[in-house]
Symmetry: D5
């Protein structure tokens, strides 16, 4: 069994039942629809309890239930993405990536915004000129470490300048 | 003169003067540092007034000033980006792209979040476990249009189901 | 079930029945053959009503009917396209893309022609030297937005110069 | 001298003079701004007369003038294009390419729309909901030829069925 | 049913029957073996009459017969081709492509040799030093068109200089 | 000095002098314009005598003359070619490559048509429907060799079946 | 039936029988194990007699036997190869390719070493520091031909300088 | 000034002076040669103090000194690397990457080993059979975060199962 | 049977049994979990004895057992890897690869660290700031050989300077 | 100074002097022309003594001399190579790579042929049917190591089965 086959099966059931991702997320236990959707699409894992709920909902086998609790091999496209909706996000990285790098580093020093210790929320922003998709995300700033420093003092620590 | 040569010149001056992007944005007129930085990095244009301010600040020639007011050929990398900070954003699209697509479409119908009619803000989120980079963005939802409809009524309009 | 399997099934039925895309579009309700064809090829969605018509015509299951009403993952090739007919359009973008960019921006300012809020029509242009394929398209011009502007006045709006 | 160096020089002069593509096209002799722009961007050739006019306008050397009358090596990007405006056209080919193929072939038989014997016009379409970019193009339909037919009759000709 | 499955089936039958492409071409009606072979390999279409002959010969279903009469999605490799025999042709384009461009343009002006209105013949050239493969091809020269010309006279026509 | 710089220099002189490839080929000694053009474009070598003639014609230095007598690093594009004229040849390989392979092998057995021991001629074919580009080429057929055969008799030779 | 399916079947039988390539090559008739192995892996053809022997050994059907006698579509990877053993050969070409070119051309003139008229042998070279893999290969030198020469004398021949 | 130009200049001076990376690292202040080397090669930044030392050593300008204190755009190759030494590391990731993923996740749960909060040491391991390169590295394990959890309790925290 | 099918089967059984890689490695005979895991994932081979143990554990057929004893075609991704955990290792090569090259060569001379004669160990490093993944690896240094030296003395040996 | 600039300079001098690679190799000290050529083309290093000889011969600066003694960043093309002579070697790997893998592993067990501890010789093989290029190479076989074995006995050693 491959993860994409399980994803296809889940999408088939969702379609036949006429469920939405929100209703599925609620049925599984009120967690973030983003996380639940990502897991059912094969990009995140569910916890054991969530996987059990999901298995009940979709009437999955034990093997399928456990697969939902496994960490998947992530990555949903060969660059660049061809779907217009997904491409727009990719384009934002292409147009603003260097700017984000400059401003994050100016504010935080050398490091990255974590894509792992990462929060995400999406909401509809009503707007008379046309509603907007609002995305709020935050990732822990992770500073590059000065490994191998041979001095005495805060050898291990990191004090950038 | 190529846009990247102008960018390189601006970065040289910024380095020699010891300026920050924020101070540059203020000097140019208090606009969003994101936009100003993106323009000076060759990914956005400055307005005429901003370009004049920038030209004063960086002591640019008339041709260079006008180039800052030109729309650039955008796109800062061949996919995928190699820089770790920029790559993390790319990775987010790879891991969450399909999820965003599913959830945006469930909420809004068929269409995209515009990367053109688009707001962006970045801020530091203090956190005892390590400060976080917070990014808030909103893009206008653009529904796919039903062109070529031959019926009478709301032929041009779009009423998805 | 994958969308391409449904497409393959629909093409099989079309072939066996000897139908044309035009006759199919009419049978489904007189909508643009472009849109109907694109949807049946897995690049657009049908409305619920259209999907019901299509399901009747092709004798599809409920799951298949609903899949036609789902937004597909779009994008029909890995660049560049190998089919000569499709390649010619790609070539036009390669040869004229920069020109279109220059002229659209000269006329409209910084922004893009939407590929989402987009009309399209194709017709045969009789010509004694050989008939021509005529394509008429229009897309809404979408100006880049000046987000993050900190001034008072038309802070949100966009007044390019 | 490379064609891209000549293009860069022409863009520098255009910027310093503050000219538009339309004014340039008029100065060169009232021809289609699309063709003139494409040629000055290095994707088409000018006729001898046009090249002479262009050389006068831009004060070019004889070698540069003749280069404008040469057929360039065409193609302005490595796929896919990164600039958002140009990408949107590319996206249209990706989303509608198979549809165009099906409908053109249904109407005309086996063949292509020429990208060489090709007309193009762009105009602004005023629209209260936001002006639109209108593009009208027509290309001669070129049928695939049945070469090598060994029968008597219309051996060379092409009568598709 | 996919075109490559039909191709695979035809190759299986050809192998089991011990047929040659020439004998197949004759059986189907004496047309160019190049065209017939290309069609059976999924790169060209057969006419209705040829498809009927082919269906008889290979004992195909009605759907399969009609598929042979359909225009295929052409293109037999992702560049570059790996098979040595096919690669040699690719190499010729790589080594002589620029030369062909220069000489064709010197002789005909700006335009291309059509790959659509195109003849092709292959024969064995006996040679005491080792027989040779002789290929003769001719394609209609298609001149680039000066669309959008605003003058009066031969506005539509094309008179290059 | 790089070969492409020499090519650029030669093209500059050709342009300024207003020469054609044919006149250059004649001036260099009446050899095939294809070979001479390919060599001057950096894809073939000239013989010493030809290089001397070319050096006189273009007033080249001794180093440049000798470079024309050197075998170049061949290959004029990263696949696929973007120029429409060159692309058409590439397309022919993509559409007919498998056919050529099948028919050459049916006629000659396992092997290739040499792209090294290779003749080429191009001519204009007058045609009332539009003149044609005629290309005649022949390459020696090279059979794959049965190396390592351990039998006695025609161990080294090749007798295919 | 695809060639890779036949290869997979042959590998399955070889594994179950516990055969080696050498024993297979002997059973098929004492030919070079390199050629026999390459053919059974789908990169070369067997002669009819060899195919018959192979069919007996592996208990193949007539269609499978004949497929072994067909010339395959060659090429076993998309560049670059990922397997370390195969990659080392690729690396040798990357590191020494330009050197081989220079030295072969210095010795033989303009041309190539044939990969078609090509011998190959592999043996174990005992060595107290670790046994070595010895590969001996020879390919016929093929000189580039001066086609299209218009002089009288050895017009067809090739006398490089 | 581009970072690679500065790297080239530093390499030129190092070569002319006959310095080693170790001696440079000591001269700059006894820090890890890995970090110092990486920074001078344009992949890491130096602290201000280190940059000052480096500037003294290499007699750099103020702009160059400050550039060494800037975070570079990282990434030293387009995949895959061609240099054999660097390729071996890449190969290790290709061969063991999935294994590392399985074992790290089995031990730590869902997350990654940080390439940012990362230690590295290299040493020579004497061995009678040939000395070995020993590399010791450790990266902080970063667990994927359950954002958007709507429950009460440890809503923000992460307790995987 | 393909190796990836066997891998999929083994993963299915592991999931259903609820086994860990460590428990599997112990059951197979106490060998390195890294090696056993890599082999079961299709990147390494098991010895005959290990394969027999593995076959008992997973109840495999004889053919499957023998396949585990076969050397696989290695390489687990098309570059670059999309999974975040695996990508971090790839990123380390991209950021530190040139540094490793410089320092290994400074210490050992011209050569590589073997990825074949290679040790590897992974362990958890407890750390109050977050546990760390520690990886220790060593590879034999392999010096480039001076083949073809024609002098007398240590002609075959290698004494770098 | 970049290595490719030094290579270009060396090629310029070689051309002007009319030297061959063999005469250069002799002048530098009678070493293998393969190694000397590879080093002067920027793919290998010269020893100090050889670099001194080369510097005398080519009248190089001290920095250039030392650069010849540095290990270069190897790799002479982006795959696949476009030059026909070099491509033939690449093709051999593509056609025979899997065969070589099978036969080397059958003879030696799991491992690779080293591309580092590697001998190479090239010679002209006179042949009445056309002289041949003979290449003899041998590389040390490197067995994959069983690291991490926890048993007592030949824990570190490698005894494959």
């Amino acid at each position: 069994m491959k993860r994409e086959d399980l994803t296809e099966k889940i999408l088939d059931i969702k379609r036949e039942k006429g469920w939405t991702w929100k209703s599925i997320a609620e049925a599984i236990g009120g967690h973030s629809p983003v996380l639940i959707t990502a897991a059912l699409l094969g990009q995140m894992k569910l916890t054991k309890a969530q996987a059990t709920e999901a298995a009940k909902l979709f009437e999955l086998s034990l093997g399928e239930e456990r697969m939902l609790n496994e960490v998947p091999y992530r990555g949903s496209f060969q660059a660049p993405p061809t779907d217009p909706l997904i491409y727009r996000f990719y384009e934002l990285v292409m147009v603003y990536g260097t700017t984000w790098k400059e401003l994050i580093q100016e504010e935080f020093g050398d490091g990255i915004m974590s894509a792992i210790d990462f929060d995400f929320e999406m909401e509809r922003l009503p707007d008379p000129r046309g509603d907007r998709v609002k995305m709020t995300m935050s990732g822990k700033f992770l500073p590059y470490k000065y490994y191998g420093a041979t001095g005495n003092s805060p050898a291990y620590g990191y004090k950038e300048d």
